[in-house]
């Protein structure tokens, strides 16, 4: 699953003078695994200007300290520019992409276990006339299942060098590195089919495969055996449910020791740094403003990484496509389709990559509906708030033996709440403004594979960087601004009591509006700051209560228990479940839908839902 690209958007242009090679291939051919294998940590993810397609650039290190820029293009079946992905691939390869130089060469990666079909993509790529190498991936799988191919004969047939590799194991990469190092020649003159004629292209691919003595491997028996279980009429949905529950329970119970570790590290380092500094305004700013603000968010890094790890494993193992298949009927009931399931599942991590992932949905109305409901799914930025409030108000007790505790159950309930709101909204939209005919649902089932730990690790590292970057910029900025607002205006050269500060006045100004929800002015300050990003409220409350001498010793949880009634606590949870408190999401929706109309409608709708939901919760729970 792609990460929070919207958070550090902006184009990264390749240096025009540097040697740049594009990696092209169909989905599931191992393109990204090869890209990760060749570039390792030297990569950068951004977005192409003006479109939603993710731009991945990296540098591969060659002999004698030379480097080459690699461009990982989106997975495509053909170069006919119909979807946005294909348009980007087409524009870059033909040099028509604005502000982006045409690559000097192409690495075409194909799955060797289904070569005769995958070779179809070779025709339009070779027709570009760029120096190209055809990389046949999954050599280990081809051999183990009894398939074979004559690499040299294939190279003669295609007029381009061919390498047989395993990107996951890193085998057979020497010719690839050689190709990257040299300025290769354009493909030799070979007979190519009419590109618009799919049957001709397929015949051409079959003929080339035959001449290269291609022997397709035996069918993937394991994939069929596993599908017999995962798509079983009874076991399939049960396993699907169990997977979802297991993911949620484990990110709460497994993450706890790690989170406690980070917490004690933050507390101890804060105390240690505090003891080194003289008692001054600077110490107060650094320890109470900066460190407690950033630290309270840092604590959630292990949990968010675990969630991304699970989604990554599900995706890479091939189970996610089966999950989309199982989910399709349910999605169809609210007017969406199985393909919306993958963006919506990503939205459990972060709405920004989820909204970017909706580009795989060809139907425009389905796509907008998915974009509009994605921020209602429980993203990881809500976890810090949920965890804090649940831990403060709900004692942990086992419900279903050791499998499910009260806190995990409450968390599941909140996930369910977001889910129901999202699906109710989808139904509303698809039966009114976004009504459309059912779009055809076409989804390739990838074979089950062992996830490549290296790729997973790189992705997690990327997520941590994005998260820490956010903690280090947005959250740090808000923490400092809040500290300043909380310490001004000065009284006799000293900071005023918090309720008389600017922050306090701001909170008091909105208190009448939020009082019916059961919130006091302190929560109000948190609601204002969390408009930037939801998790900021934890740091804000940490700072507000940290500064309140009465609450200092109580800890955030006990302070909250003192200030909120159970009804107010539930209202706070409901408010965060529904409200669109995320500037990155607003920005990405504006970009994806091409204007302010949809993000404004979405913001107002979610705000109204949050307010009325919280109001009801406060009055019903009391």
């Amino acid at each position: 699953m792609s990460g929070c690209q919207g958070c550090n958007s902006g184009a990264v242009a390749a240096h025009p003078e540097a040697h740049a090679v594009a990696i092209v291939g169909p989905p599931n051919s191992g393109k990204s695994t090869l890209f990760n294998r060749l570039t390792g940590l030297r990569q950068k993810v951004a977005n192409y200007p003006g479109v939603t397609v993710e731009q991945r650039l990296g540098r591969a290190r060659l002999e004698k300290g030379r480097e080459v820029t690699l461009i990982d293009l989106p997975g495509i079946y053909s170069l006919a520019p119909r979807s946005e992905d294909e348009q980007v691939a087409h524009d870059i390869l033909s040099g028509a992409m604005r502000d982006f130089p045409r690559p000097d060469a192409v690495l075409l990666i194909l799955d060797s276990t289904n070569l005769s079909r995958q070779l179809m993509l070779a025709a339009p790529i070779l027709a570009l006339g760029l120096p190209s190498m055809v990389v046949l991936n999954m050599a280990d799988e081809l051999r183990s299942r009894g398939g074979e191919v004559d690499v040299e004969a294939l190279s003669r047939q295609l007029g381009a060098p061919v390498a047989l590799i395993s990107a996951m194991r890193g085998e057979g990469l020497e010719p690839v590195y050689r190709f990257l190092g040299e300025r290769g020649a354009a493909p030799g003159p070979v007979e190519l089919p009419v590109l618009d004629d799919v049957p001709r292209c397929r015949e051409w691919a079959a003929r080339i495969g035959q001449r290269a003595a291609y022997q397709a491997p035996a069918p993937r028996l394991w994939t069929r055996r596993l599908d017999a279980v995962f798509l079983h009429p009874v076991w399939g949905p049960l396993i699907f449910g169990a997977v979802v529950v297991a993911v949620f329970q484990s990110i709460f119970s497994w993450a706890r020791p790690l989170m406690e570790g980070v917490q004690s590290l933050v507390t101890r380092s804060g105390a240690w740094a505090g003891s080194l500094l003289p008692d001054s305004v600077l110490r107060s700013l650094l320890i109470e403003g900066v460190w407690s603000g950033v630290g309270s968010v840092l604590v959630f890094l292990p949990q968010i990484l675990l969630l991304f790890l699970f989604i990554g494993i599900l995706e890479d193992s091939g189970y996610l496509a089966r999950a989309a298949l199982i989910a399709d009927r349910t999605m169809a009931r609210v007017g969406l389709q199985g393909k919306s399931f993958i963006p919506l599942l990503s939205a459990y991590a972060c709405a920004v990559p989820a909204i970017l992932a909706t580009r795989t949905i060809e139907n425009k109305r389905d796509r907008i509906a998915t974009i509009l409901i994605a921020p209602l799914m429980t993203c990881s930025a809500r976890l810090p708030v949920y965890t804090l409030v649940i831990a403060a108000f709900l004692p942990e007790r086992p419900l279903v033996g050791p499998l499910l505790g009260t806190r995990a159950a409450a968390m599941l309930g909140l996930y369910l709440l977001g889910f129901l709101a999202a699906f109710g909204t989808a139904r509303l939209l698809k039966s009114s403004v976004l009504k459309s005919e059912r779009a055809p649902f076409v989804l390739e089932m990838p074979p089950y594979r062992r996830p490549a730990w290296r790729s997973l690790g790189l992705r997690l590292l990327d997520r941590s960087k994005v998260f820490l970057w956010r903690a280090g910029t947005v959250i740090l900025g808000v923490a400092v601004a809040l500290w300043i607002l909380a310490h001004l205006p000065l009284r006799d050269g000293k900071a005023p009591p918090i309720e008389q500060s600017f922050a306090g006045s701001l909170g008091r100004a909105i208190e009448p509006v939020i009082q019916p929800l059961g919130f006091n002015w302190k929560i109000g300050v948190g609601l204002v700051t969390s408009l930037a990003a939801r998790e900021v409220i934890v740091g804000t409350l940490g700072a507000i209560y940290g500064m309140d001498p009465d609450a200092r010793s109580l800890g955030l949880q006990r302070a909250l228990r003192k200030d909120l009634t159970p009804g107010g606590a539930v209202a706070l949870l409901v408010f965060f479940a529904f409200a669109m408190q995320c500037m990155s999401t607003v920005a990405v929706v504006r970009r994806e839908t091409g204007g302010w109309k949809w993000p404004l409608i979405q913001f107002a709708y979610m705000g109204a839902l949050a307010y009325s939901g919280a109001f009801l919760a406060n009055h019903l729970v009391g």
Partner: protein, 86 residues
């Protein structure tokens, strides 16, 4: 849009992919779909003359997975009903 009740018609010979039972094979004759959709399906292997095997389906029977040209592709019944067999 064609309705799913096509399946219920009493026919001797399967006429579309929808009529194939699990594990049964048919030879694709034509795609009765808009050009853009047909082309996408053809790129995935649904070419006239290709053998297609019905594999598993989602619980509840829809969508269904078809084995074609070395790959497994899931289609909803309404789409499968437009892929006619020889």
């Amino acid at each position: 849009m064609l309705q799913l009740n096509v399946k219920r018609l009493p026919i001797a010979k399967p006429s579309s992919l929808l009529d194939l039972g699990q594990g049964e094979q048919g030879i694709l004759d034509r795609l009765d779909l808009p050009a853009a959709v047909s082309r996408r399906l053809m790129e995935l292997g649904f070419l006239p003359g290709s053998p297609v095997v019905a594999a598993r389906s989602a619980p509840g029977g829809d969508p269904r997975v078809f084995r074609v040209d070395g790959a497994e592709i899931a289609l909803r019944g309404e789409t499968a009903a437009r892929l006619m067999l020889r």
